[in-house]
């Protein structure tokens, strides 16, 4: 049963409640919207470079090694830019047990991390500052760990999608959620 849905250009957020009668599991999904334009652009530019080099080879008599190397280079670039595309990331909140963080890749691979409820001290919304930009991220403060655990490892959803997930996590862990908490700098500075 889908309870709410927010979306923007890149991501869309779906909140599902499995077994609505009991308080069992609460699933929050952040799904990456398929953007064909990026893949198209990458392939097109790779093709362009290859065509250029082949032309050079045919007209200006450059050696076949150049074509070979540029082909390898193209393949590497395509792999780099389109590597490990993420299909969606989910947070499954099980109030009495814990929180499961899942990352689903397009290739079908799923990576799951489970955090028991008593290990979570507090979920926090942080602002991360990098040399070129600034964004919000949702993290968990884990007992006996020096580092914060990022809820969404690969994706950077906007804060309006993070807020309901944060509220749900606060409710599950029983910590008082308030925007007045002074936050520390995030793990990505």
């Amino acid at each position: 049963m889908v309870e709410s849905c927010i979306s923007n250009k890149i991501y869309s957020y779906k909140h599902e409640c499995k077994w609505p009668n009991s308080e069992a599991a609460d699933v929050h999904n952040i799904i990456v919207r398929k953007s064909r334009s990026k893949g198209f652009l990458v392939f097109f530019s790779a093709l362009l470079i290859l065509a250029n080099v082949i032309l050079l080879f045919l007209i200006k008599d450059k050696s076949i090694a150049v074509v070979f190397w540029s082909f390898i280079w193209d393949v590497l670039i395509v792999k780099l830019l389109l590597r490990k595309p993420v299909e969606k990331e989910s947070v499954v909140v099980m109030p009495a047990l814990g929180v499961q963080l899942e990352t689903h890749y397009v290739s079908g691979k799923i990576i799951r991390r489970f955090v028991p409820i008593d290990k979570i001290l507090k979920p926090v919304l942080l602002e991360c500052v990098t040399p070129v930009t600034c964004y919000w991220s949702l993290s968990l403060i884990i007992q006996e760990e020096a580092e914060l655990m990022l809820v969404f490892k690969e994706l950077r959803p906007p804060v309006k999608m993070l807020v309901p997930i944060w509220k749900a996590l606060c409710a599950a862990t029983g910590s008082e959620g308030s925007l007045n908490t002074f936050t520390d700098d995030g793990p990505c500075c």
Partner: protein, 418 residues
């Protein structure tokens, strides 16, 4: 507020930015400070009163200044200006590269701001204004003088003056060339020789400390000259109230908050007549001298003779009336209002102004600004302003019992479900 110099560094500029920001927050404005990262301190921090500070992870490369890459800071500054919904950019300290870059980018993006190409500039003393107008070619009507102030609540004189026959002269400053540490090396032994009942307390650290230690050894003044090392700002007052006279030997100074702090604590000041120092204190609270050892010794002599006529509490009360950060904030607000009223100059108009700067310099400035403009447009296409989320205004609550729903009202208003 943009500057390379902010907490955890301590100094006049840092204090000025912090206190001015606090007073502006009390007047109801939203203030965000932008500076570079200090060691591990990087990211977003909050200070008293909800003052938000962005420590951008750019490494400082020379004397606490970030590397001037010209366009490198454009993306992060644009992001911060949009997400915090800034309407005015105030750059601090003419030597800060981050400040200049931020002002340049803000100008390109059409923001109004204060500090050649600024809407308004603020100087801390009339001497400083003269200097600025002469060197930058800014019209004098655009330059305002708002002096710094001192926190008179913190700097109070001692309940009882240090008694006894001894006269204690206090020096607190960074022991660097600019602050006249070399003058001290000449002056201290001479004064100690002339007045057997005078003692010195020297607080502060720096490259010239070694010279002072050597001077102490050479003239065997270990019991007459006490070296305290670096004094944290919170303890400056307790050091000041242990003395009768404050000695400032700076070679250049736009304003000098240190002598304000000393006067607020009821000390008579002896200082070099440089920069904006003569404008700071009334004539009966300060004895001025040329930055020359003999002249300074004469000035100290005069100060010792008028010392019995000084009443510390009276001095403090006068300082309270003369200098107040709330007053500074109100005057700054007036300058902000004038800046915001200034009409927006289009790119072409500004370019024509730059060309007039000089034969080569003018064309160079034009080129720099055109590239900045193009880069900004490119950024607007790549990361449109609508995609940058606005940060909700955080309201400080003293009552922690409020539920989650109330705190999110501000949030939910801005981010309704699409």
């Amino acid at each position: 507020m943009v500057s390379d110099f902010f907490y955890p560094n301590f100094g006049g500029v840092e204090n000025h930015i912090y206190l001015l920001s606090q007073c502006l927050i009390k007047l109801g404005h939203k203030v965000v400070v932008l500076t570079h990262a200090y060691g591990n301190r990087s990211g977003v921090r909050y200070m008293t009163g909800g003052l938000k500070v962005y420590y951008v992870p750019w490494k400082p490369f020379l004397m606490q200044n970030t590397l001037p890459t010209f366009y490198g800071t454009l993306p992060i500054i644009r992001t911060i200006l949009i997400r915090e919904q800034i309407s005015l950019v105030h750059g601090h300290q003419a030597f800060s590269t981050l400040c200049h870059e931020a002002l340049m980018h803000a100008r390109t993006m059409g923001y109004k701001f204060t500090l050649a190409d600024v809407s308004q500039a603020i100087c801390v003393s009339h001497t400083s204004k003269e200097n600025t107008v002469l060197r930058s070619g800014l019209p004098p009507e655009k330059v305002y003088v708002i002096p710094n102030a001192v926190d008179t609540a913190m700097f109070k004189p001692a309940a009882e003056r240090p008694s006894g026959n001894e006269i204690v002269i206090v020096v607190i400053s960074r022991l660097v060339y600019r602050k006249g540490a070399d003058l001290l090396v000449e002056v201290i032994p001479e004064v100690c020789r002339m007045y057997p009942n005078v003692r010195f307390i020297v607080g502060g650290d720096g490259p010239k400390r070694v010279r002072l230690e050597e001077m102490r050894e050479k003239h065997s003044l270990q019991d007459r000259v006490e070296m305290l090392g670096a004094v944290p700002h919170a303890q400056v007052r307790s050091v000041l109230i242990s003395g009768h006279i404050f000695l400032n030997s700076s070679l250049t100074e736009a304003f000098c908050i240190a002598i304000l702090e000393a006067a607020s604590c009821g000390l008579l000041t002896v200082s070099t007549r440089v920069g904006g120092v003569p404008e700071v204190l009334p004539d009966d609270m300060i004895v001025l001298a040329e930055p020359d050892p003999t002249d300074m010794v004469q000035a100290i002599k005069k100060a010792i003779s008028i010392l019995p006529m000084i009443d510390p509490q009276d001095m403090h009360n006068r300082m309270k009336k003369l200098y107040d950060w709330h007053d500074v904030a109100k005057r700054t607000e007036i300058v902000y209002d004038r800046a915001l009223k200034c009409s927006n100059q289009s790119l072409l108009e500004r370019l024509s102004r730059y060309l007039a700067c000089g034969a080569w310099a003018g064309k160079l400035f034009c080129l720099v600004m055109i590239i900045d403009f193009l880069l900004w447009r490119l950024l607007q296409l790549w990361k449109p302003a609508e995609d940058i989320e606005v940060v909700p205004d955080i309201v400080l609550s003293h009552d922690e019992d409020r539920g989650i729903s109330q705190d999110f009202q501000a949030f939910n208003k801005d981010h309704s479900l699409r």
